[in-house]
């Protein structure tokens, strides 16, 4: 008798968590995470993900590629659901910090159409919504050359999504409006308002193609160096009667400036061949560079093992034109020419200073091993080549401009 009670108690203790996982209620809790070690071959500059204050050096660190996410889905009824997701990672701050990645209500108004209100992912990239979910991706991390070019991860607002299948092809169109405020490194922050985002996706069997476009008006807060430069240009413009300096001050400033991000992408998973590629153009009416960024990743699946190679590149298309004269007209104070030369130099250096500025390319090789259900092990090596200056590396020693080799081992899991 006693044995039976113990046996059934044991059976219960196994059955209860299973019943919970099997969704007997309307609440679902799920999570994802990555435990990783990242290192490089130099101590003269640090390798970081976009918007990380510090990165990896020779000593392996967990801070660059590790994260943990937890999500709760609550199905209120047949058409209404609530989703909340928290993410712990190193972003903007020097320590691991928690952020609310999403918190939205979703109303499914028909088989094809749904509306969402709240905080949701900014649909800027092909993998924007799940870029932090290592398990959902082939590569160990999204290529920084492209994913550093758009730092708004989320959107506070509303969107509508239409999805329909014609034959074997599924089409999805999403349109979102909203705003965002993102904390950046060095106590900076950036505000975006009047954001509109369009995301078009077509899926046909193993092939997915997409187009995305995000527009908005951005303001950079807390930059004393940018404020100082703008101030100096305006002072020179007034003092020396140089309207071109005032024009330049307006052109470099980031105050309610138009910005856009346009991207196309494709992915293929066909007969063990895995390909993923994206191409993007960023444009802003400020010192923040207009850029082209792209990457191509290809891999081949041998059962549970998927080796891959990727090449990514970020290049500058343009920055504000400087129409200040090289020298001041005759009769001007002697200090005039050196002053405008110094200011021109400062403006020119903006191309390579600060978050997501600069040019860089990276070759990566890696392997993903799905060694057990819901867990994948990845190893990746990157050869990062900054073009001029230090590219997307951080905390570089003055004058640093060398290739950096990066290694990383990561364990991705979902539950």
């Amino acid at each position: 008798m006693k044995k039976r009670i113990i046996a059934s108690a044991l059976a219960m203790s196994f059955a209860v968590p299973c019943a919970f996982a099997q969704d007997s209620s309307n609440v679902r809790i799920s999570g994802f995470g990555t435990g990783a070690l990242t290192w490089t071959n130099t101590d003269d500059a640090q390798f970081a993900r976009p918007n990380q204050q510090t990165g990896a050096k020779k000593n392996p660190t967990t801070g660059v590629d590790s994260n943990l996410g937890l999500q709760i889905d609550y199905k209120v009824n047949n058409w209404l659901s609530l989703t909340g997701q928290g993410l712990v990672r190193k972003d903007a701050q020097n320590d691991f910090g928690a952020e609310a990645s999403w918190a939205f209500a979703k109303a499914k108004v028909s088989d094809d159409v749904s509306f969402r209100v709240g905080r949701m992912g900014m649909p800027a990239f092909m993998i924007s919504d799940y870029r932090n979910v290592g398990y959902a991706n082939t590569m160990l991390r999204p290529p920084a050359e492209m994913y550093s070019q758009m730092l708004f991860n989320t959107l506070d607002g509303a969107d509508v999504t239409w999805q329909h299948s014609y034959g074997d092809t599924t089409y999805t169109a999403q349109f979102a409006v909203g705003k965002n405020k993102t904390d950046l490194i060095s106590e900076l922050s950036v505000d975006a308002r009047r954001i509109t985002a369009l995301n078009l996706v077509a899926e046909h069997g193993p092939l997915t193609v997409r187009f995305g476009r995000v527009d908005g008006r951005v303001t950079l807060n807390g930059s004393t160096s940018l404020a100082g430069l703008v101030n100096a240009l305006n002072t020179v413009a007034a003092g020396y009667k140089l309207p071109s300096a005032a024009q330049l001050a307006t052109d470099v400033d980031v105050k309610d400036k138009k910005a856009s991000f346009t991207s196309v992408g494709a992915s293929l998973d066909w007969n063990n061949i895995v390909v993923q590629s994206e191409y993007a153009k960023r444009k802003t009416d400020s010192y923040v560079n207009d850029t082209t960024s792209w990457y191509v990743m290809g891999g081949y699946r041998f059962g549970k093992i998927l080796p891959y190679y990727s090449h990514a590149k970020l290049s500058i298309d343009g920055s504000p034109d400087n129409h200040m004269p090289a020298a001041c007209p005759a009769g001007y104070p002697a200090a005039c020419t050196p002053t405008i030369a110094a200011l021109s130099g400062a403006v020119a250096s903006l191309r390579y200073i600060g978050l997501g500025q600069g040019e860089q390319q990276t070759d990566s090789i890696g392997v993903r091993w799905d060694f057990r259900n819901s867990v994948a092990l990845k190893v990746q090596f990157d050869h990062v080549r900054p073009n001029k200056s230090y590219g997307l590396l951080v905390n570089a020693k003055p004058g640093f401009n060398s290739p950096v080799n990066v290694g990383a081992v990561a364990l991705d899991f979902v539950f």
Partner: protein, 135 residues
Amino acid sequence: MKQPIKTAIAAAALLLTLPAMAEVVVVANPKAAEASMTKDQVAQFFLGKSTSMTPIDQPESAPIRGEFYKKVTDKDASQVKSLWSKLVFTGKATMPKEVGDSAAVKKAVAADPKAIGYIEKSAVDGSVKVLYTAP
């Protein structure tokens, strides 16, 4: 008397080998609008690409699950999981509801005109309609 025992043994032996050669069929409510489906159409529901029908899954430990995904979506368990994690963690979809076995799938499908599930061909009865038979 001996004969029925032999038959029973033969039947038991047959049952034992059954899981390996079980034919997988995709079933829906008899009231479902569709009379049949292609493999790709079925895959759309189980890979989260369409929400017009509600997929019912079997447990990860059930052999029929691996067989179904391999035959209908050409993907193994971890590929399917990776695909779903893209949808789940973006809040686009929730994982298909999981039930205990083929009998539970039939029950769920019989109760919901929008449900779609997969079971062994031998388990088919009048409560469900076969939309697709995996080769």
